[in-house]
């Protein structure tokens, strides 16, 4: 241990620790930490691992419901009961900075990391979704990042054999140079299969499984916890992690097989902060201590120092605590799968995390203090200056739409609204033969069958379940009003689930924000969390886990605040599964919710895609989100679906009613290059006191376009009204055109032409 640098104030600062934090460390350790120990503290106390800037805020989230089996923050991922002894585990996680540096591998290892979190819980991962943000596509560097990220996600998920069933992609200048890559995975297990990440049982051996440790991903957690600068990126470039989905697939199969033997006392993946985080967290959770010897850890590069081995983030590695006497079972199973393993230590009762190298102690730290006693900061929050300008924006200087025909075309072609088929066709979204609604509708629906459960399930009549998933966040709205925008993100997600026939049961969120030391950016975060919390409470969809990614900025400033919300819901019966496209000529088109908000001065145009696309203005107060209205809309829609009245359902979001209607006419894809078109005649001429642009493209919340058979139309409208949801028939399905009549005139579009713009926009930009 010759060349360890001396601990200087500069070195401490380089490790992202403040002088106060260093004092606290000295107190905890009772002496000066050595270099290796300093490294350990720096990653464990990074924002990424400790949530030191956000922990206090996150306490505001609702985290309880009768379904919660493992709650937020307890383990790697939460677990929800879905009935009949079955449960799901899901979580979302960001890999923003690694993807900015190396898009393909950064995104790929992001997928790998979240999948590991799920099977660590004892669940079999059965599907993935993702939420992506990039700069604008006319920039070749943005295109490089976009192409790399999508193929990285595809590579990892496809090879691993997990279907990627849904997602979202937005393009906005604020993400230029700092793309967002949020990956979500969901797994299935029986209640008795829940695994824990605790080091239980003094004397139990600790196993390392998976490929050898290299110098890759050194201090990635710390990297994620500072601003993205050319300097920090350069440093990280020398330590790019390369993912091996094949290895992870083997690792998962072996772990699930091993868990079934009952020989495992605790299991934890090595994600951020690698070996460091997994050893001290398992000891902290178990209320025990742990001792390992680094000499036993398989190493890929010669001459690695303890510091490097402990902080490496090499992928596809797991830490397993085995019940003493059952080591042979681990060896047998890992040999069967041709996976490397090594016994590296044992559980102690000292409460200390003791790391040796060839028998010499290189770190000796109190595990629980390291894992749980990171400082908690209450940062200063101040309303951002730009908001006063936003609030003073009126439509007075904005002329009403002159050419609605062209405006709709432009909106459909706008990459944030255009079809994302260029993305999702690169993902295998059908492997495992469970995907009932493929990407392209409001929410994905998968079924859970016996082989979704680890080891299978031999019940005579397996109680199949249907799970719906969506991920949403209109970050323009969040930027313009973090509280309302965040509520709306939750509401949109719930609405998308309802449109597919599902009731929401739980939420996971990814808070992508800028530097928390900037009071204006911290204010965004604070307001956003308040909105998310209210939203999740309203829908009875507690937060079961999530991820915080701060410091998302580049030299030009912070990203738009982006709290991505992913929700899982349950569909009761197969016949309730509903998709967004029109089904048959002659069906009635009904609008649930108000066509316009006549009390709002901006009538839903504030922050709208329309203003951005047609008037190149990203400003104005975004529409308010009334959670009571949203909830009633959701339950009413579900009631109609469950009474077999609804043939299609699609919510209004970006681009408003006109875009939603257009999507209903052309989003059904029979096969490759074979869309199915079903036009409609829509009559909105009775709607008055609203500008045409607001009527067509306003984005007020709480609206869903449904279709019913001609016969059921009146019944559906009456029933909706009875339940307190405004409803009106607005037209009929049929023909090859979308025809729209308003009090000021008539407009029509060839469906085939609209489809062409919408379907090919991103592909053309990427060609």
């Amino acid at each position: 241990m010759s060349a360890d640098p001396a601990i200087t104030p500069e070195l401490i600062a380089e490790h992202g620790l403040t002088p106060e934090e260093y004092e606290r460390i000295q107190e905890i350790v009772g002496r000066e930490p050595n270099f290796t120990e300093l490294g350990i503290f720096s990653v464990m106390w990074s924002e990424h691992c400790s949530y030191k800037n956000t922990r206090a805020l996150l306490k505001g989230f609702p985290v309880e419901s009768p379904r919660v089996l493992v709650g937020a923050g307890e383990e790697n991922a939460g677990i929800l009961d879905i009935g009949d002894d079955l449960a799901i585990s899901f979580k979302i996680e960001s890999h923003n900075h690694p993807s900015a540096v190396e898009p393909f591998q950064g995104a790929a290892t992001g997928v790998g990391g979240i999948i590991r979190d799920i099977f660590t819980m004892g669940a079999r991962p059965v599907c993935a979704i993702n939420s992506l943000r990039f700069g604008e596509l006319d920039n070749s560097e943005v295109r490089r990042l976009f192409r790399g990220v999508v193929s990285g996600i595809a590579h990892y998920g496809n090879c691993f054999g997990i279907p990627t069933v849904a997602g979202e992609v937005y393009f906005d200048k604020s993400y230029e140079g700092n793309p967002l890559v949020n990956a979500f995975a969901l797994g299935v297990l029986r209640h008795d299969q829940i695994a824990r990440g605790a080091a239980k049982g003094v004397g139990n051996p600790v196993f390392y499984v998976g490929p050898a440790t290299g110098r890759d991903g050194l201090a990635g957690a710390a990297f994620a916890s500072q601003d993205l600068t050319e300097e920090s990126a350069e440093q990280q470039r020398s330590a790019v992690q390369v993912g091996d989905p094949f290895m992870e697939k083997l690792c998962m199969e072996a772990c699930l097989e091993l868990l079934a033997t009952g020989a495992v006392a605790g299991i934890q993946d090595m994600g951020a902060a690698g070996l460091t985080c997994s050893t001290c967290e398992t000891a902290a959770r178990g209320g025990t201590g742990i001792e390992i010897d680094l000499a036993m850890v398989p190493q890929r590069s010669p001459g690695m120092t303890p510091y490097e081995i402990l902080l490496s983030e090499s992928q596809e590695r797991m830490l397993i605590i085995v019940t003493k006497g059952r080591e042979e079972e681990v060896k047998r199973i890992f040999d069967k799968w041709d996976l490397p393993w090594a016994e590296i230590g044992f559980v102690t009762d000292t409460g200390q995390m003791v790391v040796k190298n060839h028998g010499v102690v290189v770190a000796d730290l109190p595990a629980s203090k390291l894992a749980d006693d990171a400082p908690i900061y209450h940062r200063e929050a101040k309303e951002p200056a730009y908001l006063s300008e936003v609030r003073s924006f009126t439509l007075a200087g904005v002329e009403d739409v002159e050419d609605p025909t062209e405006a709709l075309e432009k909106l459909l072609e706008w990459p944030s609204i255009a079809s994302k088929n260029w993305v999702y066709r690169q993902y295998d979204h059908m492997v495992r033969a469970n995907t009932m609604v493929n990407p392209g509708s409001d929410a994905a629906v998968i079924r859970i069958k016996a082989d979704s459960v680890p080891g299978g399930d031999d019940r005579e009549d397996f109680p199949e379940k249907l799970v719906a998933l969506a991920v949403d966040c209109n970050a323009s709205h969040v930027y313009l009003d973090p509280y309302e925008g965040s509520k709306a993100a939750v509401a949109e997600c719930a609405r998308n689930l309802a449109c597919s026939g599902a009731t929401p049961i739980g939420t996971t969120d990814n808070l992508n924000f800028g530097n928390p030391h900037n009071p204006e950016l911290f204010w965004q975060l604070k307001e956003s969390v308040r909105g998310l919390a209210e939203g999740c409470t309203a829908f009875d969809a507690p937060v079961t886990g999530g991820n915080v990614s701060l410091y998302n900025q580049n030299p030009d400033g912070a990203i738009d605040p982006t709290p991505t919300v992913a929700m899982a819901g349950l569909v009761e019966e197969e016949r309730h599964v509903t998709t967004q496209w029109f089904k048959e000529e002659g069906d009635a088109v009904i609008l649930l919710g108000e066509p316009a908000d006549t009390e709002d001065a901006l009538q839903g145009l504030g922050g709208s895609a329309y203003l951005q696309v047609v008037h190149e203005a990203k400003t104005g107060q975004p529409p308010r989100c009334n959670l009571e209205i949203e909830r009633t809309l959701g339950t009413t829609l579900l009631g109609l679906i469950q009474s077999d009245l609804v043939k299609s359902a699609h919510d209004c979001s970006e681009g408003g009613l006109a875009v939603a209607l257009a999507e209903c006419t052309f989003s059904d894809l029979e096969a490759r290059n074979t869309p199915r078109f079903l036009g409609a005649e829509i009559d909105l001429s009775t709607v008055e006191n609203v500008r045409l642009d607001a009527l067509l493209f306003g984005e007020i919340h709480g609206r869903v376009v449904i279709t019913t058979s001609e016969l059921d139309a009146v019944k559906a409208v009456e029933r909706a009204k009875l339940l307190g949801v405004p409803a009106q028939r607005i037209g009929t399905v049929g023909g090859k055109q979308l025809k729209l009549r308003t009090s000021t005139g008539e407009h029509h579009w060839e469906v085939v032409g609209l489809h062409d713009l919408w379907w090919n926009s991103i592909g053309n930009a990427m060609a």
């Binding site: 190396e102 490929p211 890759d216 020398s238 992690q241 390369v242 091996d244 041709d338």
Partner: protein
């Protein structure tokens, strides 16, 4: 003239492909195999004299043919 670009994974970077080929060779009974690294080999027909071709290709190898984050490259010219 024909130019060749040989692209190899950087020594520090994990090469899952090479590792898998190595194990496969061992399983097939090929003895004495040490480390295996798998890279790419690109042959490009190009007009111009050696110097121009070399200059051009280095530029594009850096920014397009190889991924500088994880790969090294070498140029070779044939005559």
């Amino acid at each position: 003239m024909k130019a060749k670009v040989i692209i190899t994974p950087k020594p520090e970077v994990l090469d899952p492909q090479g590792k898998t080929v190595q194990t496969a060779l061992e399983h097939m009974g090929c003895t004495g195999v040490g480390e295996v690294r798998v890279g790419k080999y690109i042959e490009i027909e190009m007009d111009g004299d050696a110097d121009t071709v070399k200059a051009k290709l280095s530029e594009y190898a850096d920014k397009f043919l190889a991924n500088p984050n994880i790969e090294d490259y070498r140029l070779k010219l044939e005559d």
